[in-house]
Symmetry: C2
């Protein structure tokens, strides 16, 4: 790296909820000019992020695959999970730092929005004191899903809660009782527990289940009509608020 | 309208948080081809939405200005407010329906995301049974603000609550106490009350105040350092969560 080279910049780039056209203009401009793009994916899978960016990156762009050592095979309370994730993020941060120190801008691409439950946050906290970092917000997966489901999520004075499905059932039911509107994320193996909590809070009749929102494989149905307990991790449940009515 | 004319479509189009480059590709494609665009604005103001779309609409596009009869001059509990808003949305829906019945597609453009506390919801509920409607999600104002403020808002098992600043102080403090992360929207004249509620919940040291996020006039400062009680209605307060740490 030349002593006079401009400092390289790290971009956290939101890609939107899945439909490749729901990326922002700003994101496409950054992808077209960076020499290095990095994306998270489950080991052995190429990841949805990579499919979205194909049409935007330059032919000479180098791709760094950041493959999680583990995703849902271990509980996130397990010490082995914490240790493996810690090492993974440390390694990923070093890899990216090496490119930045070499004067190459790096874009870490993120499904949804980088700062909304995104893995990018773990890189950001490791690199923010040493490098210039710009965050490009994206359309969240939850916005994509409530738009696709035609479910206005909140208006007026509605309190809207975003609830990870990993919470205990009592905590889930309590938040559902005190919120006007809710989105439950991270469903996967938690579906049966979540359905019980939604029913316990008296919200089952309003709840919608959405799988692969905005993609061609999209499924939207009432949660009460979802008869089995199989759900991908990135499915979600919407409970729309009532807002102020002028009707 | 010819009996064989294809049915016209209503689009609710999210424009993103303010920076014109934070619009989606899908939104720009729709804006380029619709013959009619409608936008909400305060009476006498052209509105930020209109400034964002200028570069994307066609030269022949007709613009419908949907001017609120009243915004913050009356309390939203006031009967006069409710009556005026009801008439306004009824009139706006009729205006748009006339174009749709005439075979013209209409895009209602919305700052942020149409179904996230958007006025478009009041048109949607009036027109959904009669017309084909497509929702184009957008980057929310809150995503724009936490990105601009470099404040990762939530990760891991964080519960994130979106709280309208119009709530009472006891309700605000209660939600702030039970949430890991929070975004308080609709600040305006509610700032003094909100600051008290945030302090009461013991969150003042983590709270950030953001005004005109992602625009050139952007201001980000600790809420504790915001010494006066003057704030625009669309400013907001961010209280980031802690998430799972792998550090």
């Amino acid at each position: 790296m030349s002593a006079h080279a401009p400092a390289a910049c790290l971009y956290g780039v939101g890609l939107g909820p899945g439909d490749p056209e729901l990326i922002t203009i700003r994101a496409t401009k950054i992808l077209a000019r960076v020499p290095v793009v990095a994306s998270f994916a489950k080991k052995g899978a190429s990841g949805r992020a990579r499919a979205i960016i194909t049409r935007w990156v330059s032919g000479s762009c180098r791709h760094l695959a950041l493959d999680y050592p583990v995703t849902t095979e271990l509980s996130f309370c397990d010490t082995a999970y914490v240790t493996q994730l810690h090492s993974f993020y440390e390694h990923a941060a070093r890899l990216i730092a090496a490119h930045l120190l070499d004067g190459q801008d790096v874009a870490v691409v993120c499904e949804g929005d980088p700062f909304f439950y995104g893995s990018f946050i773990h890189l950001y906290v490791r690199l923010r004191d040493r490098f210039q970092i710009e965050i490009v917000p994206g359309v969240t997966g939850i916005s994509g899903c409530w738009s696709a489901a035609k479910a206005p999520i909140a208006s007026g004075d509605d309190v809207l809660s975003i609830l990870p499905g990993t919470l205990g059932d009592a905590a889930l039911a309590s938040h559902l009782t005190t919120s006007d509107a809710a989105v439950i994320i991270k469903i996967g193996a938690n579906l049966a527990k979540i359905r019980n909590a939604v029913a316990h809070a008296g919200r089952l009749s309003q709840a919608l289940y959405v799988e692969y929102g905005t993609s061609e494989a999209q499924i939207v149905l009432p949660l009460a009509g979802k008869m089995d307990d199989r759900a991908p991790y990135f499915s979600l449940i919407l409970i729309p608020g009532r807002g102020r009515q002028y009707e």
